[in-house]
Amino acid sequence: MPTPMPLPTRPTGAPERGGRLVILGVAASDSHAVANHLIAHALRADGFTVVNLGTCTPVDEFADACERHPQAEAVLIGSLNGQIHEDLHGLAEAKRSGRIHCPVVVGGNLSVGSVKDESSVTRLYDLGVDRVLASAADLVPTLDALHAPTASDRVPAAAAR
């Protein structure tokens, strides 16, 4: 039986963001659903159309969604279990081949243990990630910056405290 795709949705009454669409999901090894839903609701409240792939989403599934939604302006990948580096194996290839055509933004709890260091962020850039968020509050400003016609190139993320 083919997997039904979640339909992109935007609540009635939310501000228009000109049909801007983002693809959202949680990294492959991670089954934390709650934060994923909180982010989806928050983005929709801000007028984005959200295709939420949900928990345990492998890179391939993000790539499939990008092909189905060529208008997508970003792929947002959350991770709370600290395994994201392994989960993103294959991201660089998906970007090289053009299957993922838009910037990839990552946020959440990015390393196991409570001490966060810059090296786990650097490794994400090496894997093909374009922006690493220190906090969920930075998400919309980051999307707006990437969306602006003069989106500057990567800036190092502030280390999460």
Binding site: T3, H37, A40, H41, R44, A45, G54, S135
Partner: protein, 478 residues
Amino acid sequence: MPTAPAPPTLEESAAYITRLGKPTAAEVLARARTSGRTALQPRCGVGGHREMAVLLKELETEGRPDLLTLTIDSHTRLRRFEHAARALRTDHRTLNGYPLVTHGWQRGRELNELVAVPLEIRHGSPDPRELFATAVACGITSFEGGGISYNLPYSKDVPLADSLAAWTEVDQLCGELAHLGVVMDRELFGTLTAVLIPPSISLAISVLEAVAAAAAGVRCVSVSYPQSGHLAQDVAALRAVPVLAARYLPAGLDVHAVLHEFMGVFPRRRHHADDLIFYGAITARLGGASKLITKTYQEAHGIPDAAANAAGLRLAAVARSPLLDFITVDEGAVDEELEWILRETAEIVEPVLAAPRLDSAIVTAFAAGRLDIPFSASRHARSEVIPRRDRDGAVRYHSPGRLPLSRASTERNRRLLDGPARPGAGTTELPGAELFQALRRDIDYFPLLFGELPQDAAAPGGSAADSATSTPGKEPAL
């Protein structure tokens, strides 16, 4: 392991249950309802057989529960029996529950004969057919779950049609057992994703599962509801169960209300957790619940040890004391909540019940968002419903998504959340960042209430809701 002998037939299992001389779960529940003394049950499950036996004995001796649980491990829930077998061979401590199918029905009977109270299987399987067959062979008389409630909170991509069909088979076997003189208790998992579940969503899903179960031949149903923490709302939700049963379920079906002590983010400090446990037990008493599923002061830290589990049972038992008859609830507030819970539930379930075929109506309604649950782990629910707590802590609909709620219901929810509705206002008035923070505060309600988190808790990444081992949507602790 030597090959197990052929499992008993349904007739042999029914005869075994009769011969055992233990009360069935249905009998314990009926006695609890008649006496007005809520039955108590802990969650418990470990991988090793000897360890499970020791745990059950210790809980029975130290906690004096009315029912005991076999919580089943994740591998078995997903029918990965070979994974469970490998874990048993290498290190049973890696299992997060008791792999009953792998241990086999003879060991299950050993556990059943070890304790005087009936056992219930708690698991989380979208397809529980092998597990149910083994449970019946063990003489276990209560089985939790349902085609909706054990799919959407637990699996990412199991079609509802598949889980509903599997559970119909289980319910039909319950009907056959009833003909053989054994009434199985089928407890529906109204807790769902365990986070800010509006009572009318929990009850609507349970009504639909109960209608399906009764049609398949089930004779005893337990409708479980997760404590929200708002007393009048929780008492009303429990009291709604018999009313809904009279309204939507056949007369021959025995229906019990069950309260799950708070299933969300628990306070971390023992005395705070104990307060919340006692509050849950008082809620069950005032709501007339037949049964209470207890929590422990180690809830925020992971799977509890036997001593903490027994302490949780003993604390909950205090709330049943005849000395506490002076504890009452604002009956006017309860009546008002009850009226609206019944109304919202009717608005959600009646269009589905009006369709010619219930299972396909359920599938269609979820696809269209006319049935929905918040924070679904599955893509087969849209999760467009946004719950929020009002100023008093009651769970309301911030946005009903596509649920067919009447304008009156929607407006009441909005009024309770943010004062008078402004004409022409949309359903989602909070900008994203504010909504995100507000929902996090609602999820962290009890840690905030007890002062365990700063009022402006805004750690990057997740909230406590996503750091505890009991993370809803991951594997709600059963």
